[in-house]
């Protein structure tokens, strides 16, 4: 029975490590023994994390990024954590223009699709793979002033479910981890989506609170969980 949380055989790519969210998740995977490449890494940080540069603007960019991660880690990536969530400022929907809609909706969705597509061949060849997407709960709750971001995040969440359905036969799981609204904006708080405060009394720390969930989903122990969203918001949204 595969129950290990050990990730020493795993090679991970974590996007969005320029912010505490991605950086905390990347460090948590490294704690469990994974070799970890990161995008958006700050100059000073966890020296276990291998910074790689690149973008997800096109499929070719995504392929190149995965190749660089492969080179940096010495092995093909079999764990992808897409934590590059857009930071957003609420604004009236009537003020949103096509350029913003394009950047938020198209930009987020295309990047996620290209990342999935670029990482898939090596996972299929290995018969093993783990995708995780960080999808803040505001997509499930909706958020005034943040419709474009909510649309993009919910799109990611369902892209993950569809990928889980299509790729399960290759030993690939695809899941989402949903932190609270504070993960995307200083201006949207838990009380915007629930009258109740976080059941656990506080919002989460990326490394200490969300890290273990990502580690579990990346591990052998998490092998039978796919297509789900784990809400890791301290008990605010409590979605089904």
């Amino acid at each position: 029975m595969p129950t290990s949380l050990d990730l020493t055989q795993r090679a991970a790519l974590v996007t969005g490590a320029g912010r505490p969210l991605g950086r905390g998740l990347a460090s948590a995977l490294a704690d469990a023994g994974a070799r970890v490449a990161v995008t958006g890494a700050p100059a000073k940080g966890d020296d276990r994390l291998a910074p790689v540069t690149g973008s997800l603007a096109t499929r070719a960019d995504a392929d190149a990024l995965l190749e660089r991660a492969h080179a940096a880690l010495g092995t093909a990536v079999d764990v992808v954590v897409h934590a590059d969530v857009a930071w957003a400022t609420p604004q009236p929907f009537t003020d949103v223009d096509d350029e913003q809609w394009d950047a938020t909706w198209e930009g987020t969705m295309r990047a996620t699709l290209f990342l999935f597509q670029a990482a898939f061949p090596a996972m299929r060849a290995r018969g093993h793979g783990r995708f995780m997407v960080v999808t803040p709960t505001l997509s499930m709750s909706g958020a005034a002033g943040l419709a474009p971001l909510a649309a993009a995040v919910e799109g990611q969440r369902l892209l993950a479910k569809s990928a889980a359905r299509q790729w399960g036969g290759h030993g690939i799981t695809v899941n989402c981890v949903a932190p609270g609204p504070e993960a995307v904006s200083d201006e949207v708080h838990a009380d915007a989506v629930s009258l109740a405060p976080p059941a656990l009394g506080r919002s989460g720390d990326p490394h200490d609170d969300l890290g273990p969930i990502v580690t579990f989903l990346a591990s052998d122990a998490g092998h039978f969980v796919t297509g789900v969203t784990v809400c890791a918001d301290g008990g605010v949204w409590m979605a089904p």
């Binding site: 499929r59 009236p92 929907f93 009537t94 949103v96 096509d98 809609w101 909706w105 198209e106 969705m109 295309r110 699709l113 999935f116 597509q117 898939f120 061949p121 299929r124 997509s139 499930m140 709750s141 909706g142 958020a143 005034a144 002033g145 943040l146 419709a147 474009p148 909510a150 649309a151 993009a152 995040v153 919910e154 799109g155 990611q156 969440r157 369902l158 892209l159 993950a160 479910k161 569809s162 990928a163 889980a164 359905r165 299509q166 790729w167 915007a192 297509g227 089904p240």
Partner: protein
């Protein structure tokens, strides 16, 4: 309190109303007294639906509209307001891009069709209708037509799911944002007899049996009686306290909400 014409004095736009679910919704709204604008990409499909409604004693006009084009949607809204004096109900149903595909090698053109019609179309319809929905106050309604696939994912048409999901997130967000004006924003997630589904059934006859077998009510929905009636309810005064929701109209097949 319902009346026999609960949508009397209401003006509605239905996109993609030239066929299928949109046509059914347009008929259902018109039957209950609404004046309906058939926003169809092609006059060849839209005009006959407007004719059908008028032949049944209703009021309708076709305005050729490509929902992926901001100017088209703006012109449709302007024409509607000029002709009928306002706009109370915007129903975005138009969709293109349902052909099967594999995620690993799907052509970006398929993504574009899905994204442009479902999501950009929702954005344009919502944003351009808003000033008139606000004027309509407690009678302002935005209804987005989504799908059970937007909640459960899809193994055959994987890119369909994220665009349908995005519509739900837009609806929830706008429900929160526009509630102060009395505007309600909801989704319906139908499964109904449409030209696309009929085509899929003829290509794969087992599909219909399988669909009916997993549906508690044992049949595929009728676009006007089963789906249109639910949109008509959402458009009515009776549904004025329902917002941010997705009503699944599929005979009970999907129970995941």
């Amino acid at each position: 309190m319902s009346t026999s014409a609960p949508l009397e004095a209401r003006v509605a736009i239905v996109t993609g109303a030239g066929q299928g679910v949109g046509r059914g919704i347009a008929h259902a709204l018109a039957l209950r007294g609404a004046r309906v604008v058939i926003a169809a990409r092609r006059a060849a499909t839209g005009e006959p639906v407007a004719d059908e409604i008028r032949a049944r004693g209703g009021e309708a006009v076709c305005v050729v509209t490509d929902v992926t084009c901001r100017d088209d949607v703006a012109a449709c809204v302007d024409t509607t307001v000029q002709r009928y004096g306002g706009l109370h109900v915007m129903v975005h149903n138009a969709f293109r891009g349902g052909q099967g595909h594999r995620l690993e090698d799907v052509d970006v053109d398929i993504w574009d069709q899905n994204s442009r019609t479902a999501v950009w179309g929702s954005y344009y319809c919502a944003q351009l209708a808003f000033p008139h929905l606000r004027d309509a106050g407690a009678r302002g309604r935005l209804v987005l037509v989504t799908s059970p696939s937007g909640v459960e994912g899809s193994v055959n048409i994987p890119l369909y799911s994220p665009v349908k999901a995005a519509q739900r997130a837009i609806a929830k967000s706008l429900a929160r944002e526009w509630g102060e004006h009395g505007i309600t924003v909801n989704c319906i997630a139908p499964v109904a007899e449409t030209p696309a589904l009929t085509q899929a059934f003829s290509a794969n006859p087992v599909l219909k049996e399988r669909l009916e077998a997993r549906t508690p009510l044992g049949r595929v929905g009728d676009a006007e009686r089963d789906i249109g009636a639910v949109v008509a309810f959402l458009a009515s005064d009776d549904a004025g306290y329902v917002t941010g929701q997705t009503i699944v109209c599929d005979g009970g097949s999907f129970t995941g909400l």
